[in-house]
Every structure is written in structure tokens, then in C-alpha cells.
Amino acid sequence: MSAKIFGSGIRRREDPRLVTGSATYTDDITLPGMVYAAMLRSPHAHARIRSIDTAAAAAAPGVLAVYTGADTAEALAPVPTAWLLPDSDLQVADYPAIARDTVRYVGDIVAVVVAESRYQAYDAVDLVAVDYEPLPAVVDPELASRPGAPQIHDGIAGNQALHWTVAGGDVEAAFASADVVVEERIVQQRLIPNAMETRSAVARFTRASGELTLWNTTQNPHIARFICSAVTGVPEDRLRVIAPEVGGGFGSKIAVYPADFVTVFCAMRLGRPVKWTETRSENYQATTHGRDHVQQVELAATRDGRITGLRCSVWAGLGAYLSTAAPGIPTILHGLMLSGVYDIPAVKEDVYGIYTNATPVEAYRGAGRPEATFMLERLVDRLAGELGLDPAEVRRRNLIPRFEDGHPVVTGLTYDSGDYPAALEKLLAHAGYDRLRAEQAAARERGRHLGIGLATYVEICGLGPSQVAGAIGFQGGLWESAIVRFHPSGKVHVFIGASPHGQGEETTFAQIVASEVGVSPDDVKVFHGDTDNTPMGWGTYGSRTTAVGGAALALTARKIKEKAKIVAAHLLEAAVEDMDYEDGNFFVKGSPDRGKTIQDIALMANVSWNMPEGVESGLEASTFYDPPNFTFPFGAHLAVVEVHPETGQVDLLRYVALDDCGPQINPVIVAGQVHGGVVQGIGQALWEEAVYDESGQLVSGTMLDYALPRADRLPEIEVLSTVTPSPHHPIGVKGVGEAGTIASTVTVYNAVMDALRPFRVGAVTMPLTPERVWRAIQEAQGG
């Protein structure tokens, strides 16, 4: 079985509860005596609070309490950021859970109302009267960094939260001696993550014991406990965070939010359990956004298309306050990946992290890497256009050749393993690239505008060695842990510190155990998400759960196997060296039919009647796994579009994704991750944008106004893979959660620009809506 179970697309163990409505998400929890909180949020992007009158709200039916920043100022410490990026002149602005004198974005919390019912709480929120003095606001990060821009935080000049630089090689010389230089100004528009479950928290405080339980829609309950303890003062040993079923995250459930602390505060003050669940419109204002870069990029190359240098400046909007991981996203997770899959001898990037009067920005699927991949792959296409070369050919000329055990790149990283040329060639062959180009040419003859877009990528995953985490200012470790416990009947409980929320690790982790020690995956139950019954772990983001937590688990299962071998040898009166193992059977070499099964051994170890000398009872093991390096999944994507110049409409005709995430534990789940990721990236290219007006109002403030991908606008995605194991990982896996998103935005963008080549359109700002495409064509035609 072991050989078959690893790599098998078995059905998910999570699904029966999910398809029957028996799963419990945070908002599904009701506790005896529970009351409901609703937040009053600022309608202004920037304003001074002159006064707040809570009397009418407090007197409304069912209302238990109304609290403002004056009430929480003492009780709640400022909301911290957990990434204190060194060498960046980081300016951390004061971030109160409830605003005190000034509000800095539409959505900043001004007051909270707690009432007996949800409807009563919302009714009363409308009765809180706030007198605001509006102040000038700024939402564009580049404008916010200019002299004379509205000042968002006292003492933070130029609204600059950080200035970080990465450089390698002699970039000045590369540009001075370049045959060709291409450049582009790129706007990575703000996106709203839109996990289908909005954020929610339920807090219960037991005064007699001082114990607090917080049910929370989080991707990282252990980090949530750590931070919640620091902000609320509840000691970590009395604080239990439970991430029940979590309805998607995509980065937006990494942060620990003001509203979580406020919910805890209310529960502690009132001595009643309190539930808060945001509405979708509230989610759009209050839950973190992604991307928001203005990028100025230049690429230097030789006449034959060899890239010699990359130079760029990035203005990254961080929103009004620094969210939990915000400082590391446009810097470490972006700048270190500048050179991508190519051998580029010189790079330099300046990143300016800028405060703006907008919702805080956090990781959003891909987190920094899609923004890096976009710059590079866009410029490579520009270079191809400039030199009159085929985009595939320019890529071929620059790819790092195959390597199996470490390749240092110009930004200082050492990629683990890769075969980029093989990935590109397999993609092109499957897609029938040459034929596509011929079809495109033929279509142009007939007045149809097809475009073919390509992108290659490599991403940094499996975050990461904790020593590196410390060096880059991440205020935590980045290891993962696992406990494997065999019960007497041979059934297995696995406890992990990471916290999947849709990625299917209850299944794939059961497959890891099954393939290592020969039990059925149906006999393995995986526990996660409760800080009281799982070992510490740093959470599920950055495609790290399988890459790091899976390693911890595989090593733990191997410890179990070693112990089982010793017990089996003892029971069979043989020497350990003479033992052999196959598919859950431990036997003396040559006599497989007289072996002991893992179930036999689990029983004997648990009853412990006859254990070998010096071996402990039970069959249980644990591992804390700190990876020696990151993992570097990679791939190549291709899209075919048709653009209708009369309307600007873009039809996505075909999408092919090739992703190499190492060996696949469950290829069906891997493909599912790719589908979802690709579609999110397509969404950025074609439809999605958090639109603010000049005064800082979120214009795309409801699901009605924000264009999410829908089923009828998408082609079937063709999913391919190659398999290049990570040399340093116990089972070679690299991670796949973000892969699809990293390449797909620029792949689609390149396809559209390829279709527009006859019109000589320079650049179009995303999303590529019909209006924008049409206008760009008109402008390029001088019309």
C-alpha cells in the first residue's frame, strides 16, 4: 500500500462534514449567554474625532455596552506588527485597536456596541453619534510619498514606513554597457482577498479562572494566541485559540485584527461570551487587502537577448497601519525573487513602503512573488518585442540550466533544485506553441486578434529556516511540529501546529503517515487548529504547511517506524539489524509471512507487557522541524486570448499551467490548488480592483461592485507538471498553494499585450477591462 498511497488522488477526509453542513465555522458557534458585538467604523479616510456621543446607543433595546477608544486605551496594547524588517529604517506607527483622536482609513474602528442580538447591535451602532473633522487623505502610494502629501502619522516624514534595498552585481555597469534597455511602469492594483467566509471571532472569558477561549477565523492560531496575549494581557497559558473550520484565507486571515482584540475586551468586561462576525461590506473595508505596488522597472540586455541587469523602484502601499506580516511582503518575499528563473548577473531594487489612507495591506496569495514575477516576465516580453525575437526564445536564452542541489542567485538566495528548461519545453510542446503562433498569424490575416502569453516563474516557499527568520526581523520562528500517536488498536492520531483551511492536509498528512508506516489513511486522524491540543506551529501561509509541517510529520513517522522495528525484533527474538520492513509488516529478513504488523506492534507497545530493555511504553513520537533552506517551486504558464478591438473585450480561450512542486502526495489536491490559484491570478489581470476615490472612499465597497471571477468567464485549465524533488526535504515536496497565482496574472497580461501588438499599445493598467483596452487602442491609434 505504501507505494500506492503516496501520489494517489484519494478522496478528502474533510469532505463528508463539509458536504452535509455539519462542519462548524466560527460564526456557527453559539454559546450559552452569548451576546453580539458590532463595530462602528469610520466613514472617513482621514479625520479627527471631535467627540463621540454614545448615550442613545447605550439606551437602545438590548444594548449591554458601548465602548470607544477611551475605554480600550488602557486595556489593550497597540496592535503590533510581527515583522520588524532590519536595515529599512522601519517606522512603526501607533495602531490602537479602537481609534482615539484620529481615524486613518474608511473602516478604522471608532466604537463597539454589544447587544443581546445581532440585529439589536447593528441598530444601536447607527445611534452612535460621532463628530468628525475631515482631513485631507491620500491613497496612492506614490503620491503619498511626495512632498506636501497629507501626513498620516505624526513624526513619520513622507509617510515612509520603510525603505529597503536589495542589490547584487554591478547594476550600473550593466546598464552602462547594455545594447538594449527596456522599461515599464507597472501598477499592481490593490486587491480584496475575498475568502468566502468573512472574519469572525467568538470570545469567552471565565473570570473565576482567568481563562480566555477565542474561536477565530485564522490561518495561524498559535501566532494569534501569542499576539492576543501580548495585546490583551491574558497570559499565554490561560489563552486558548481555536481555529474551527476556516472558510479560506489567502493571506487575509494571517493578521490578528483590532476587532479580535475588541471582541476579547468586550467578553472580559461583560463576563459574557461575545460573538463578532463582519458583514461582507465590512470585510471589504476592514480585512486586509493585497498587492498595491507602483513599480518602475528597467531591464538591460545584449543584442542577442541575454539579460544583463534589472533595476527597479517600487512604491508599496501598506495602508494606514502595519498589519502583522506587512513589512516583509514587498521586500523579502518580493525583492529576493527579482532574478526569477534566469541567470541575471546584476540587480538592484529600492522598495519604499508607504502609509496611505486605505485598508492595511497584508499577504495575499503569492504575497510579493506575483508582483516580482510580473515585473520580470513583463520586461522579458518587452525585450523580445524590442529585439524582434520570439518570447519563448528569449526565455530559453536566459534560463538557469538544470540543477539538483543548490544554485546561488544574485540576490543572495540559494535555490534548492530546478529544471526550468524542461518545464518550459514541456509546456510549449503540450500547448503546441509553434502551431499556436501559426494560427495566430492566420487569424490576424482574417482580422481576428489572438494573443499568446507566456510566463515562467520560481517562488520561495517552505518558510523557512528560523535563523533566517530572525535575521530578517520576523518576530517568531518558522519551524513546524508534529506528534504521531498510535492507539492500541493501531489507529493513529496526528497533531500538527500548522492550520490548514481548505488545502486538504487532513488527507495528505494521513497519506504521509500511511506511506511511511503502512497504515490505511482512513486510520489516521489529523488534529489542527486548537492551541490547547496541538503542538506549537507557525501557521498555514506561504505554501509552507506541507513543505515544512509535512517534513515534520514524515520525520515523526520515521521515528515511529524505528521504534516499531525495535519492538518487533524483540517480539520475534531477532536482532534489530536482521529486521526488514514492507508495507506495514516488520519481519526477519527472508520471512515476511512471520512478521508483526504495525497494528500488532501498536498493541504490544501500548499494553507494554513485553517491551525490550530500556524502551519506553507506548508508540508515539514528535518532531520540531526547522528547514535548512527554503523550497523553490517553479513552473511555466501559457494563455491564449482573443481581444475584440471594437469593444475591448478580452476572451480567455485557453490556459495551460505547468507547475513543479516536487513529488505530489495527492495530485488531485495539487491540481485543485493550481485551479484556484490560476483563477485568482486571472482575476487580477482581467477584473479585480479595490477602487478608492480621491477622498479615500472605497468605491468597490461591496461584492456587487468588486468583480470576482465567475464560472462562466473561465476556460477549463489544463494542468501539467514536472517533478523535481527538493534535495533537502525528507520527502522532496516544495509547496503548491500559491503557485497558480504567481504566474497567471502576467501570463494573461502578456497574452493580451501580444494580441494588441498590431495596435502598438504600450501598456494598459490592470485590470484589463473592456473600457481600458478599448481606450488604449484608441489612444495608440491617435483616436
Partner: protein, 161 residues
Amino acid sequence: MVKVPVAVRVNGRLYEREVEPRLLLVHFLRDLDGLTGTKVGCDTSQCGSCTVLLDGMTVKSCTCLAVQADGAAITTIEGLAAENGALHPLQEAFWNQHGLQCGFCTPGMIFAAHEILRTSPDPSDEEIRHGLEGNLCRCTGYQNIVRSVRAAADAMQEGEG
């Protein structure tokens, strides 16, 4: 606020309650007997997470008041499987085809699929995609949802034939 009586049959059981006239059906359902399988994903009737069957037709239960459901029979996700627990072919198909990840959109998706198959028992992929237009999923990119609906159509036709 004045309350009015409603009598609604949910998953075969009659519930008689006094409700505020403004109470949304979705909140009424979620507060009944722990029937929290029906989800709320938005406040502008875009996401479809709240979709249920009302007298055999799908309805987004956030667009409907509890009082409007007075006298109606409703099926929520908890009532879709057979009494003995055997999954409905749609539930089975979503499971088999990996038609869900976080599962939040799934109850609504299953009912959207139910409606597609009610009106077109042997739909093309295009029809399926069109029929899913009113339901949002952020995890799956819809691809395996389309496959799930296709597989359920096949299973249900086989079941009849």
C-alpha cells in the same frame, strides 16, 4: 419590535416561531436547531452561499424574509442526504470530484447544481458554468465544481435508467 408568527417546515420538521418581520430567512434558518450549514457570504445577494430549496425551487435565503417563507417547506444542506445518511448524488459527486476546498460555498453550490439538474438533467459544461454564475467560490476556480455537477448528472441519470 413586534413579532409575528411563522410556521415553516424545514427538512421535514415543522417549526413554529415568533419572528421580527425584518428577520432574513437565512438568519432564521441558522438560528434554528443548529442548522448552520446554510452560509452567509455577503450582504448584497452576490455569493449564493445561502442558497436553499424553498418548495423545491432554489432561493438565496438572504434575499427573502422569514415571514415570506411562512407555510413553505425548505430543504437545507442538512436535509439533503437520505434519512439513513446516504449522501445525495450531488454530495457524493462533490466529494468524488474534489469539488470543494474550504467548503464554505459548498452548500450553496450544491443547491445551485440541484437547480441546474432540475431544469436540465444532462447539461453541457457551458450550461453548468452558466448555471453557477450566481454562486461564488474563491478556492476551486470552479473547474472541479463543473466536474462535480457533470458527474452528479451522470449518476442521477444512471440511477433513473
